[in-house]
Amino acid sequence: MLLAVLSGFIIATITPLAGKLFRSKWSVGLTAVPLALFIYFLSFIPAVSNGQVLLFNYEWVPSMGINFNFLLDGLSLLFALMITGIGALVYLYTSSYMKDDPGLDKFYGYLSLFMSAMLGMVMSDNLFTLFIFWELTSISSFFLIGFDNENKESRKAALISMALTGLGGFFLLAGFAIVANITGTYTISEMMGSGDIFKDHPLYIVIIICFFLAAFTKSAQFPFHFWLPGAMKAPTPVSTYLHSATMVKAGIYLLARFTPLLGDHIYWNNTLMIVGGITMVYAAFHSILKKDLKEILAYSTISALGMLVFLLGLGHAEAFIAMAVFIVVHALYKATLFLITGILDHETGTRDINRLSGLRKVMMPLAIAGFLAVLSNSGIPPSFGFVGKDLIYSATLHSETLAIFITVAAVVTNIFLLYSSFLAGIKPFAGKLPSEYKDVHMPDWRMWVPPLICGIAGIVFGIFPMLAEGSIIRPAVSAIAPEVPEFHLQLWHGFNTVLGLSAITIIVGILLYVIFKPNDRHNAWMNKFESFSPKSIAAGVNKLFMKFAVTWTNLLQNGYLRIYVLTVISFLTILLAYKAFTVSSLDINLTKISALTSAEVAVMVILIVSVLYAVYSPSRLAAIAAMGVIGYCICLVFIFYSAPDLAMTQFTIDTLTVILFLLVMYRLPKYVLYTNKLIRIRDAIISLIFGTLITLLALEVHHEPTNKETTRFYAENSYALAKGKNIVNVILVDFRGMDTMIEIIVLSISALGVFALLKLQLNEFDREI
């Protein structure tokens, strides 16, 4: 099982290495991987349909409770079959669709990465691996949307989707952390049954907000839906696979998986119902106004996702059944329509539905596939979609609150969806064939077989719903709902309200198709509302952030060294002064002062004079000389107060510094007065205040009792342990020998740098400057 889940990662590492092989016609061989996985997962159906929950545990980081715990129940299996099944078709399709693309190997790599991540996500029983796989799907989605990386629009769309889903990821991690904290385990299956702890917990609201934000961004719910139409910049196989059939359902999966734990609460159900409801109506309405096939499909996908969230929100077993069925239905018909769109785009070079027509005459198998998908999408018998829509209507009718209202919302959505499916699946094939498309021919079989398979599957499941019922739908529902009532999927329920609603949907939808044609005027009308759409608001917020960041950076990082120094010093001064004068009142004790000799006074006077000279001298030479004098004076201070080693070092170093300075000085420019008087006065005041503060602190600290324990240790053990009599030396070369060693290394590096800078020959380029 571990191999099955991770196989995509292995492929993703191999493909770029063996790039050439997979760019050739052998790329079709990769289809074997998802196909094998699909068959592998099919083999679990008997066990899972018997109600078994299979667990596979592999240790990863056991010390932190992060393990590959895979759980296979109905819900995981439903998703796993979808991921691998649709995956196999998409792999096959891609090998022809992208056969001329130089990045085909990379493309397969990303696709495999995604497949593995998605499989891992739906099977993870461990919160952390679930999170990691969740993020991996976002990352692979980012790469796939931006696959055409020379196109600015693609890159922008990839960034937007990454930003939004990544934001959701943060909240997911936060939500998981709280959940793990409350239950004390990272394993989801161990948490099951402790739902009551959550519902009474004060953090319940916070948890569900985190989960909602994660799921809504991932599954493109209003108001985060806008990344999905943008994501259509990706190559069509990606739109099919990630952005309609699988990845966008990750949010649905998350909500469904945690429904037994967090669900059945008024906040949970109502939020899902409201958000899902708004999304489905809003997006369905948008889908009928678009002319671009992929945009139509994008909005109808969003609408379908809204429908799924809405059904989860209804919260009773019947709604869950409808949801499980609808997931399958939607994956099948939407994959078909997307794949067809890809072919049309590939063969005719346009996705404008007003230009496409009559193509059935040249692409009969595709027209059939499209027609079958439309049947399923519109819920016309005998498709599986009809079964699904019946279930949705009966679920809304049996809702405890507002049954009429939400049923109307569902019907309206379905009418719009029917309309948009006609646009996508029938319009391009119906009517007269324009002369410009006379030469259009059928694509390679690898491209038209996958949509046909999906289309036919939608009908087969419709005619024989029992195929799906016991094997996968019931186990999936039982993973969400505590108890599943007896149910049978069937086409014919007899004459009742549900049938009536279906009939209304179909009739009104077809009427709408006949009367209403999308055109530019509708789009222009919609664009008027663009300025306050969620997308524009997000863009505005983004711009505001950028502006703030730029201002802030310019304020703090203006590129002038002295401004940095000034800021640091001013801040430090204020901080020190505040501390010195308020917290510990300044207390200077002058009793323990040592006496002065005349020699010392003389040295001090020389020191003060040279400091002033170093600062004010207009000559570089004088300033450097003064600097040298300061160094020698300090050397004398060290001699007066029992530090012969320091005196020697200071003497040598000071001499060396002055010599080095003088050596390079003749190559340097003369002093120029760069600043005006006002700035000089300002700087002088700030530095004087800082200096005074240091003086005061030095005076005060001097009388604080110091801890001499370290000193005593060195003094006592210098000879006893290290056989050295100069304690300073012993400290440096013995007790702290390693530090000195590192210091020598630092000096060597600096020496190398000096040598390189002095000896480096200027190349032509530098000399020109």
Partner: protein, 118 residues
């Protein structure tokens, strides 16, 4: 003596900071040297001033007497002096180099890594 030394430390700090706030590269380095000296003196003062008692055990004895200058700050300062020499020498050579390449020692004209158009 401590008072005078404290004042001088303050003076060294002020002078160092003031020079570092100038736009000239040479002044920046001189300021750095002065500031380093001020810091060394401050550490030295904190260790306490002891006259004529270096932290050296006499040739005959095995133990140091009761009063002696603190060797720990001395060891620290010794390290600091040497390291700051490494810094200073590198800085000095770097200014020379920078001046040759850029043609100015005005820091304000060096705040960008991009080449100027003029």
């Amino acid at each position: 003596m401590e008072i005078i030394l404290s004042v001088i430390i303050g003076l060294l700090y002020s002078a160092g900071i003031y020079l570092m706030l100038r736009r000239s590269l040479i002044k920046l380095v001189i300021g750095l040297v002065l500031l380093g000296n001020g810091v060394n003196l401050l550490i030295f003062l904190m260790g306490g001033l002891v006259k004529g008692r270096p932290p050296i055990i006499s040739a005959t004895a095995e133990n140091i007497g009761l009063i002696y200058a603190d060797p720990v700050p001395q060891a620290l300062i010794l390290t600091a002096i040497v390291i700051s020499f490494g810094l200073q020498s590198f800085a000095i050579v770097l200014i020379k180099r920078a001046y040759i390449v850029v043609g100015t020692d005005d820091l304000d004209k060096m705040h960008s890594t991009e080449e100027e158009d003029d």
